[in-house]
């Protein structure tokens, strides 16, 4: 909108600026298309960060999501802030968080201070309703991707055991996902499967000073 934006989009762009523009655009899209609160924006973040810009691999994104879920607080801003930080430092962090939250907060303040009648309008409710199954499908896509990755990492047997256990604990015993992830992390930390002796020695050497 301002002249600066035009300068940024010229071919002579400094790389740093392009990254900030990309960060802003990516998370702006996440913010305005993520209906249903932060968790529904996870597939959108994945699309932008892994598939569109290639800043993170699927594995790294999985780590972010796992850790993000074991920590408290809103997930959308944790993801945006950390990704922004990794891609472009502290300013990138602020940029990505603002791009995620600002459009919707401004819309909210504008609507509530002027006319709050809209929320009961049939077309607004219709719009929200139609987005729900679409987001559901995107989450199903991500589910399948992570299932395939589990199999690639630890084989079907162990994947299925952990999937069934997690499902039973989460859904039927109402154990919080954060606790389950925490326990799995501990299991992986103290377990010894999948690591050769030589590599373990290397690790011990590498982490010796900590």
């Amino acid at each position: 909108m301002r002249n600066e934006t035009e300068v940024v989009s010229t071919p002579k762009t400094v790389k740093k600026k392009t990254i900030h523009v990309a960060l802003f655009l990516g998370f702006f899209r996440v913010g305005i298309f993520g209906y249903g609160g932060g968790p529904s924006s996870i597939p959108l973040v994945h699309k932008e960060v892994v598939e569109h810009y290639g800043w993170f691999t699927d594995d790294e994104f999985g780590d972010l999501l796992a850790l993000g879920n074991t920590l408290p607080g809103p997930i959308a801003t944790k993801l945006a802030g950390y990704i922004g930080y990794r891609v472009a430092g502290p300013f990138g962090m602020i940029n990505a968080v603002l791009a995620t939250i600002l459009p919707s907060i401004l819309a909210m303040i504008a609507l509530l201070t002027t006319l709050s009648m809209y929320k009961d309008k049939a077309w607004v409710q219709g719009m929200t309703k139609a987005v729900v199954p679409v987001v559901g499908f995107m989450l199903a896509q991500l589910t399948w991707q992570f299932t395939k990755k589990s199999k690639a990492g630890m084989g079907w047997t162990q994947s299925i055991v952990i999937i069934v256990l997690s499902l039973v604990l989460m859904e039927f015993l109402n154990v919080h996902p954060g606790i389950i992830i925490g326990l799995l992390l501990l299991y992986a930390w103290f377990g010894t499967w999948g690591s050769s002796k030589k590599k373990q020695d290397e690790y011990v050497k590498a982490s010796g000073e900590s």
Partner: protein, 176 residues
């Protein structure tokens, strides 16, 4: 000054106690805003929440921003947003920095692999919840129709999700 401090506390506490993302922290926000500080009634709170849910974007920051604004203007909005976002984000950055430092070690690799099935379950459960709430809100026929359309556009034609969601918004505004 005291008001800003109260706004900070009202959103800081749900921010560090709310496990499971923004929506999980909403009851905690209500506890602070309605019960402790009595800035609004339960009725008003649920109206703000309803509008917030009709708009896109993360819900926790929308609530923090709006309630902060309603209590103390633009600075109040900033305080509310900062208190919601900053604590958990700082924790995340520190922990991931440590993790990334050892990301080539076997232990960390094993941790990455071990949590994958749980992440799959987490996402699968969320997908299921979205389908159920769609079935309750829009009916079985519309839900199946929209899922089929999503499959077609996202998987087959590889269209960017933003356009698919925009399409769904237009469809919902007209037909639902």
């Amino acid at each position: 000054m005291i008001l800003y401090w109260k706004i900070f506390l009202a959103f800081f506490i749900p921010g560090i106690l709310g496990y499971g993302g923004g929506p999980a922290s909403i009851p905690l926000v209500e506890n602070e805003v309605v019960d402790r500080y009595e800035w609004m009634s339960t009725q008003e709170f649920s109206e703000v929440l309803a509008l917030g849910n009709a708009l896109p974007g993360p819900i926790a920051t929308k609530m923090g921003g709006y309630i902060g604004y309603a209590q103390a203007g633009w600075i109040g909005a900033l305080v509310g947003i900062f208190a919601t976002v900053a604590p958990s984000l700082i924790l995340m950055i520190i922990l991931l920095k440590i993790l990334m430092k050892y990301k080539d070690s076997d232990k960390v690799k094993r941790m990455t692999i071990t949590v994958r099935p749980a992440i799959a379950v987490l996402l699968g459960v969320m997908a299921y919840q979205f389908f159920v709430s769609s079935y309750e809100g829009a009916g079985l026929l519309q839900t199946i129709l929209l899922i089929a359309a999503s499959f077609l556009f996202l998987e087959r034609f590889r269209i960017h999700p933003a356009f698919v969601i925009a399409g769904a918004l237009v469809y919902g505004g007209i037909f639902l």
